[in-house]
């Protein structure tokens, strides 16, 4: 059963609605993987090639979304989902296997929430919340047990780190409450506004 890595899933998600060029995909990935990550082309293009080989996407000549001005740009390749790719995306969107997801994996799943059903969204958010809470617990325990003395700077670094995780948990709590008290909550309908 072919594994879908985070990057592949993110690309599948980006191509869900319309085809895009590699260059565009990279910019959009910058959003899905948190606004401060930029994926290198050395990573992106080989991944696209693998996806084509796996039959998940197709490379078409040109015509992305915007009407091409007039004539011959350089060879630009628009990628679009195949049926297999769409099927894979659907399968993955129903999968809330939240254990062992790292930050990037969570962000990518989250950015696809508009196409994820309400029950799965809730399971993902709760799964992430409890894993963060567990780690917070473990770390706090560990710090007590480890009586190496820390100077003021090291202590401040720890405090700051723990605070950030606590904030992340609060953020998740807000989202979870929102999901629970939401009126609608299906896939395809948007969460409140545009489309």
């Amino acid at each position: 059963m072919a594994k879908t890595d985070v990057l592949t899933l993110a690309i599948l998600g980006i191509l869900r609605d319309r085809p895009h060029h590699g260059y565009q995909i990279r910019k959009l990935l910058g959003v899905e993987l948190g606004p401060f990550r930029a994926l290198s082309y050395g990573s992106l293009y080989p991944c696209l090639r693998r996806m084509v080989e796996a039959g998940l996407i197709e490379a078409s000549g040109d015509e992305p979304g915007n009407p091409t001005p007039a004539s011959s740009r350089r060879a630009r390749i628009a990628y679009s989902l195949t049926e297999a790719g769409r099927a894979r995306l659907t399968t993955e969107l129903a999968n809330a296997g939240a254990s062992s997801w790292d930050d990037d994996a969570f962000d990518v799943r989250f950015s696809l929430f508009a196409h994820t059903d309400a029950a799965t969204r809730l399971r993902i958010l709760e799964g992430r919340r409890s894993r963060l809470a567990e780690r917070l617990e473990e770390v706090s325990e560990g710090l007590k047990r480890m009586h190496e003395r820390h100077d003021a700077y090291t202590a401040e670094l720890q405090r700051h780190g723990l605070e950030q995780v606590e904030r992340e948990i609060s953020w998740l709590d807000r989202l979870i409450e929102n999901e629970r008290s939401a009126p609608g909550g299906d896939h395809h309908g948007s969460a409140s506004a545009d489309h």
Copy 2:
């Protein structure tokens, strides 16, 4: 001029005051690299070997810090700084070459602030602050320029990401102000309390 990678520097810092076993080093690294990272042994031990080969550290038979109970544990290796290692650490501690440091590199330098002189501390904090501010600016610009419409979830992810960076900047501002208004501010003296 041999480059000192983050991990090597972190280990140098940990061994500054007393020798430690590999196992202990790993636990302490968990603190310096932010309380939520655990380095694997498959990464740690090869690094220690390289450092021994480079003459930065020495592997001694046993006796860490705690008085050994009675007799024969299994071979435990305590690593300690050589003169070359100590010299390298001193050099690195004076280096505020803050451009291109990633999060981990900053954290490691920060955790060594107790042994860094006041001027270098300030340069490091200010360097980090301005890089974060720059990126914040770029990302905000980029988002305006990129008029791909985002659904509510993607927008929330972005908002949260930007907020986190803003908080990081506030944290740095507090630290910078603190450094500026601090009474003392040399290396070796601690920042306020223990030692």
